[in-house]
């Protein structure tokens, strides 16, 4: 049974079509990397899934709901948590406040405060640096710490699927390693489904899983990350050789 399924999704900004006819399904527990060069439409696709930029056409289903054109908050409440490109921490809020923002979506269920507290401790256990600095302003954190914060913040909503746009953006390689290490550990712990956007296929090849290559708004390759990453087709498609 697929958790997320897209059929023929397109995204437009005025006359520019950023995503054209994207179709794929993602099963519960799967890890999917979407890679591709600048301007391929990766972020646009993610924003369309999360409801931030409603799709111009096609259909998105998540957890047995048609979420096409739904409001971002309603999609989030179904368990799809999005970590956008550039991280978007609430800089003037403290780290703990950042983490707590998303817990309100469960406020209608009994015992949510206790569960939020448990969740908070779990996130702090994964990212001890966040606990150390829990009362300082999030805007003062380093890039790597902010990346950990936004991943933690997404987890606080107890999502079924986490979609992350370029977690390595602006981070030193060893910090990126740390972020991925935690991400993979979390996935195993919580049976999370992950949708990760990266420009390069390096991480996908290291971690394994499924990989799709996006170019010019379309999915041009889809397959096993390690196999695809080494193939000639990948290189050619990434740089657009043989387009003409």
């Amino acid at each position: 049974m697929s958790l997320l399924s897209l059929s023929n999704v397109s995204v437009r900004y005025g006359r520019l079509t950023a995503v054209r006819g994207v179709t794929f399904t993602l099963a519960e527990g799967e890890v999917l990397f979407i890679t591709g060069p600048n301007g391929a439409g990766k972020s646009s696709l993610l924003r369309a899934i999360a409801g931030v930029t409603p799709p111009a056409g096609g259909r998105v289903d998540f957890a047995d709901h048609d979420i096409t054109g739904e409001a971002p908050e309603d999609i989030a409440r179904l368990g799809l948590s999005m970590v956008p490109e550039g991280r978007d921490v609430f800089g003037s809020l403290t780290i703990e406040e950042n983490l707590m923002v998303g817990t309100g979506m469960h406020a209608a269920t009994r015992g949510w405060r206790a569960r939020a507290a448990t969740e908070l401790e779990a996130v702090y256990a994964t990212f001890p640096i966040l606990k150390e600095r829990r009362h300082s302003q999030a805007g003062l954190l380093s890039g790597g710490q902010q990346q950990m914060l936004v991943i933690g913040r997404a987890l606080m909503t107890t999502p079924r699927l986490v979609a992350i746009d370029e977690p390595s953006l602006g981070l030193a390689p060893n910090i990126t390693d740390q972020v991925y290490e935690r991400l993979i550990a979390l996935r195993a712990e919580r049976k999370l489904t992950l949708l990760i956007v990266e420009q390069s296929s390096t991480r996908a090849m290291m971690i394994g899983g499924r990989m799709m290559l996006m170019r010019g708004g379309e999915i041009v390759l889809d397959g096993d990350a390690r196999a695809l990453g080494q193939s000639e087709a990948m290189q050619a498609a990434y740089f657009g050789y043989g387009d003409h």
């Binding site: 924003r47 971002p72 609430f90 998303g102």
Partner: protein
């Protein structure tokens, strides 16, 4: 000593009005980047809501005769209600368009409210006696301060403390602060856009009602333009304070009150008529050196 205290209290009470007005503007600007020019007309509406419609010079008091413990909640509810209504009926439609269009919509809404009042009550100011007994003076440090001035200051302090506690300690306050900084991100974390925006409008409208009560008791008149003069200064305070910064709005509101009061005292009598020109001069100076305002709010960048 008594004279100095009088100036201090004048400055604080005038500053209180500006601060309350600026807060009402900044709250809404914070969550939806709307400069709400209808705010002053909401103030006037709240005063007129206490009267029966009539075009006579003498006001026919309706809810204005209620005892204070009913009058105050009634007026606050009117302000909050009208403000929320304007969001649902007008501003909601404009949320996805640019801030300039929303601003023009707020001008239009202001005109609609004003002309609605004009139709029911005519443009003549009416004398009303609101919350009588507040004009009697009390003695503080040798100065005779009108009780109303004292109450204005105390109410403002209470509002500031209450609002701070609300924003810092409650779940809804946390969601509002997050939304003010990055609305889209807050929504991606499940924060309900409509609820946050309606909450901001309700608070803002209640603040307008508080100003209405203070102004109505202070001046003893109901005038369809009564919100305008306070709001002009309040707008300036939000700009100087850094659009969207609540603390900045409050500080700038009090600063403007102080400057205006001090100018009134130190300017030679002939120049007093130009007091406001001097105040605006000071404002321009501030903006030359800090164009982003005294306390620039975070997240004033464009949203996705």
């Amino acid at each position: 000593m008594g004279g100095l205290m009088q100036v201090v209290f004048d400055a604080l009470s005038l500053g209180s009005l500006y601060a309350l007005g600026a807060l009402g503007i900044a709250l809404i600007f914070g969550v939806m980047r709307l400069v709400n020019f209808a705010h002053g007309d909401v103030i006037a509406f709240c005063v007129f809501a206490l009267l029966w419609p009539s075009v006579d010079a003498v006001a026919i008091i309706f809810a204005g005769n209620l005892p204070w413990f009913l009058l105050i909640p009634f007026t606050l509810a009117v302000g909050a209600g009208l403000s929320v209504l304007s969001e649902v009926v007008v501003f909601r439609r404009f949320r996805r368009v640019n801030p300039a269009t929303m601003m023009i919509a707020s001008f239009a809404l202001g005109f609609v409210i004003r002309y609605f009042l004009l139709m029911l009550f005519s443009s003549r100011p009416k004398s009303i006696l609101l919350l009588p007994g507040l004009s009697q003076p009390v003695e503080i440090f040798g100065a005779r301060i009108p009780l109303l001035q004292l109450i204005t200051i105390l109410v403002t302090i209470a509002v500031l403390i209450g609002l701070t506690a609300f924003l810092r300690r409650t779940r809804f306050g946390l969601e509002m602060r997050a939304a003010a900084e990055n609305f889209t991100m807050a929504r991606m974390l499940g924060v309900r856009a409509n609820r946050v925006i309606m909450g901001a409008f309700a608070l803002s409208g209640a603040l307008a009602a508080a100003i209405a009560l203070i102004l109505g008791s202070q001046t003893g008149t109901a005038n369809i333009m009564m919100g305008a003069s306070v709001m002009l200064m309040a707008f300036i305070a939000t700009v100087i304070g850094g659009m969207g910064s609540l603390a900045g709005a409050v500080i700038a509101g009090f600063a403007l009150g102080a400057i205006a009061t001090v100018m009134q005292v130190i300017l030679p009598p002939d120049a007093r008529a130009f007091r406001d020109a001097f105040v605006y001069g000071a404002v321009i100076l501030v903006l030359i050196f800090r164009p982003q305002g005294l306390l620039a709010a975070r997240g004033t960048r464009e949203r996705v």
